[in-house]
């Protein structure tokens, strides 16, 4: 299964970035093989549409799980429609976040935590 983590730099040891659409990078990890691939988040400059754009990047690259901290309502709606589960975590590295998720320590977010104007 593919997992996406929002990050402030590249690779598994990168610190997480807690903002979903505004994070500079997204790290995609294959939970079986442990392979990681980092992509630059094109949505950081997308203004109000950043959330919908970033959410589609996640779904197109085939992630089924997203680990982040703050996700805006539009992004959340798109992720929910695509069946992507969002789990809340922040303040750790990408690999620590994945380990916490694997260990079942993270809580699934059921709602956006940001107001509509907040392009998260």
């Amino acid at each position: 299964m593919k997992i996406c983590v929002t990050a402030s730099s590249e690779g598994l040891q990168a610190p997480m970035d807690s903002r979903f659409a505004r994070a500079p990078f997204m790290v995609f990890i294959d939970s079986e093989t442990g392979d990681a691939e980092t992509i630059a988040n094109a949505a950081t400059s997308a203004g109000h549409g950043a959330g919908t754009q970033a959410a589609q990047t996640v779904t197109r690259l085939g992630a089924e799980v997203l680990l982040t901290a703050h996700c805006g309502p539009r992004a959340f709606e798109v992720l929910a429609a695509a069946g992507v589960k969002v789990f809340g975590v922040e303040g750790v590295t990408v690999s620590e976040a994945v380990d916490a998720w694997k260990a079942g320590k993270l809580e699934q977010l059921e709602n956006s935590d940001a107001a509509a104007g907040w392009a998260g």
Binding site: A43, A46, H48, G49, A50, G51, T52, Q53, A55, Q56, T59, R60, R74, E77, V78, A81, A82, A116
Partner: protein, 281 residues
């Protein structure tokens, strides 16, 4: 003559000046283009006779024709569309109504419906024909409402436009509809900074500017120096008057709460006409 009354930021007294200019003008059309916070009616007390909706076309889907290929979402630069397997989503408030998504759809699955984003009100305040636009709460794109108001400028007669505050595409749209732009400023560092931005924007669209300094008793020296450097006339100075602020709070226009400025406002009309002539010469 068409005059846009603008200011680089809100709260400079732009609407106070625009409404009193109109009251001294007599017969004219007043266009309230400050559609995100229209309040000229509070000072002009027009009788509203009718209103019209402002709508924009937004895309909708014939689900049975969609293959969820994502071409429409890829095209949409506003990221108003999202396509995930089996689901097509439109976020109306992000849509700029460009119509592009329906053109790029290979199966013609997208059609458009009209969506209301605001309204335009029409009325009269004595000899003044009054038109006012208002963007609905929560809407993000004021330009279509402003454009519908500006359509009422017509080819004949005098027009006074209460422009949206700031220096952005809304303000530019209003300024482009005018022959001359009266920039209302106040003598503070922020005021001067915003004035500079507005002046630079007007250069780009090649509209002559004139400056009115409100609260000039705070010390208008720097504004004068700047205006002289730019070759822009300072056509009027108004001191900070308590009566004007109190009048505003009780919905009384400047010319009523401070009638000593009536003559100045008449003179302002002539000064604006001169500004246009000098530019043309």
């Amino acid at each position: 003559m068409k005059v846009a009354v603008a200011s680089g930021k809100g709260g400079t007294g732009k609407t106070t000046v625009a409404t009193s200019l109109a009251l001294m003008w007599g017969e004219c059309t007043f266009l309230d283009c400050d559609v995100e916070g229209p309040n000229a009616h509070l000072l002009l007390h027009p009788e509203i006779e009718r209103s019209a909706q402002v709508t924009v076309p937004v895309p909708r889907l014939h689900e049975e024709d969609c293959s969820y290929c994502g071409a429409c979402a890829d095209f949409c630069r506003s990221h108003a569309l999202a396509v995930v397997p089996g689901k097509w989503m439109i976020f109306d408030q992000l849509c700029h109504a460009c119509g592009g998504c329906s053109l790029v759809c290979p199966t013609r699955a997208i059609y458009e419906v009209d969506r209301r984003i605001g309204e335009v009100r029409f009325g009269h305040a004595g000899p003044i024909r009054f038109v006012q636009g208002e963007l609905d709460a929560g809407e993000a794109h004021p330009i279509p409402v402003i454009e519908d108001v500006l359509k009422e400028a017509g080819d004949q007669g005098d027009v006074i436009i209460d422009s949206p505050p700031g220096t952005n595409c809304s303000m530019i749209a209003a300024a482009e509809a005018a022959d001359v732009v009266l920039l209302v400023t106040e003598p503070t560092p922020f005021g001067l900074h915003d004035l500079t931005l507005a002046v630079e924007a007007l250069k780009v669209i090649n509209r002559p500017a004139a400056i009115l300094v409100n609260r000039a008793d705070w010390g208008a020296g720097e504004v004068h120096e700047y205006a002289a450097r730019e070759g822009i006339p300072v056509v009027l100075e108004i001191p900070h008057l308590l009566v004007v602020a109190e009048g505003y709070a009780r919905s009384r226009p400047l010319v009523e709460s401070a009638p000593e400025f009536r003559q100045d406002l008449l003179g302002l009309r002539a000064a604006l006409a001169r500004t246009i002539q000098e530019r043309a010469a």
